[in-house]
Amino acid sequence: MLLKQIEQFLRTLGRPLVKFLISLGQLTLFIIKSIYHAVMPPFYIKNFFGQVLDIGFYSLPVVGLTTVFAGMVIALQTYSGFSSIGAEKAVANVVLISVTRELAPVLSALMVAGRIGAAMAAEIGTMKVTEQIDALITLSTNPFKYLFAPRLWAGLLVLPVLVLFGDVIGIFGGYVVGVYKLGFNPANYINATIENLEAVGIISGLTKAAVFGFIIALMGCYNGYKSKGGAQGVGEATTNAVVSASILILIFNYIITEIFFAR
């Protein structure tokens, strides 16, 4: 009786667990294959630049808007939290640190995950279910090299550039609120920002960006590639790509922060 219940329990626990382990194995295999093909020639340079344009250029407005408001709101919050003595320095410093270390990389990556991760999964998923990926293979072209490698490289290299842009815009947002709303002296604010500029903050932010970019492209490609069963399958792949990329971004954000700043 009890044995039966235990068996039942293990059974219900077992099936999802086995499924999870299988998909973890598949993902690992996919990552290894992707990296191998991404570093081995031939390289499809044209596809790479197409992706750079898609991921990078067309994401500029989204990243700009996200980071400018993030910087603005942080300036406001910090001011309300501090006494007015030394507020100028404190606001400049907090905006700088929070934008470069956290807000620009994480918010930009989440926005790009929604925009690009979804689009990638939809495109590759459609190619999968309409046999375009099979067609690539029969034309002696490896989909890992032709489709995935350019996207992974673009994600890895473009996100840091986007985030650097976001850093500048975010700090500018803080400056605008500081000067025009809180009445700080512009020169003092800029000086305080420059004084507190620290390499580790910016580098950690850019490292995060590179990792997040890779994750977004990886989840887009992987979920697209394993989608099956027509339009519905592609829709599922799109959702999975965005959700899994977003969660992984938050997890890796913690891990990278820990690596850089934990003592």
Binding site: M127, T138, S140, T141
Partner: protein
């Protein structure tokens, strides 16, 4: 005699989960021959072609091309093959001519202007006007997409060409144009072709030999003449297209 065999399939098995699709297929295709595989919907004809191309991994069995085992060794395999997919499978991010000239552009690194001239020539061969070249696949009708797929399959003059239902969805006149093209690529270019079709008129016209796939096995094969004389009840039912007979359709 042995050297005449281009593709040799022995005891090929393929299942999806519990569903057995290929259950011991044996089939030889001679060099320069046009073989047509017929069989009901869902009997595994497309799966058979995909196994030969290495797009699907068979569970068991052997596939030899030019006397070489190919299962698990697909490198360079596709350089001598062309394939027309059942659904066309055109790349929708590329224009029609870039689709047709894909192999030239990506594998042979032909300059774009030369590749385009060649693509337009082959497009004309499949009955498409040059101004189609700059359209995108989504702007074409289903039949036109099929012909573009055909052009993409034959542009490199491959040794082996697979046609998965080349005439389905085409009007009778266009079907016959495609039939002639298949015959031309087989006889004119010396290619070995494997065609899947439900269209018996097309099968009669293009086949040197016909094989019928049923329940995972090749249950009959022979020439068109032999087919007309056969008393095999499965083949008879399929030719007549009758619902009555040994083939049970699950509804």
């Amino acid at each position: 005699m042995e050297n005449d065999i281009k593709i040799s399939i022995k005891d090929l098995h393929k299942s999806f989960g519990r569903k057995k699709v290929l259950d011991g297929v044996n089939l030889d295709i001679k060099k320069g021959e046009s073989l047509v595989v017929i069989g009901g919907s869902g009997t595994g004809k497309s799966v058979l072609i995909k196994c030969i191309q290495g797009l699907l991994m068979p569970d068991f069995g052997s596939i030899q091309i030019d006397g070489q085992e190919t299962i698990g060794k697909t490198q360079n395999l596709h350089l001598k093959m062309g394939m027309l997919f059942q659904g066309g499978a055109l790349f929708d991010s590329l224009s029609v001519w870039e689709n047709v000239a894909f192999s030239l552009l990506e594998n042979k690194h032909t300059p774009r202007n030369e590749a385009k001239v060649e693509a337009v020539r082959v497009l004309r061969q499949v009955g498409l006007a040059p101004d189609v070249a700059d359209l995108y696949p989504s702007e074409l009708s289903g039949g036109m997409q099929k012909r573009v797929g055909l052009a993409r399959a034959i542009i490199t003059n491959p040794e082996i060409i697979f046609f998965d239902e080349p005439t389905t969805g085409l009007d009778p006149i266009m079907s016959d144009v495609i039939n002639d093209l298949i015959i031309e690529s087989a006889k004119g270019l010396g290619a070995t072709t494997l065609t899947i079709t439900h269209d018996m008129a097309s099968a009669r016209k293009i086949a040197d030999r016909i094989a019928m796939l049923y329940q995972g096995k090749i249950i009959w094969q022979g020439t068109v003449k032999e087919m007309d004389k056969t008393d095999n009840p499965y083949v008879l039912q399929f030719i007549k297209g009758s619902a009555k007979g040994p083939i049970k359709v699950e509804i």
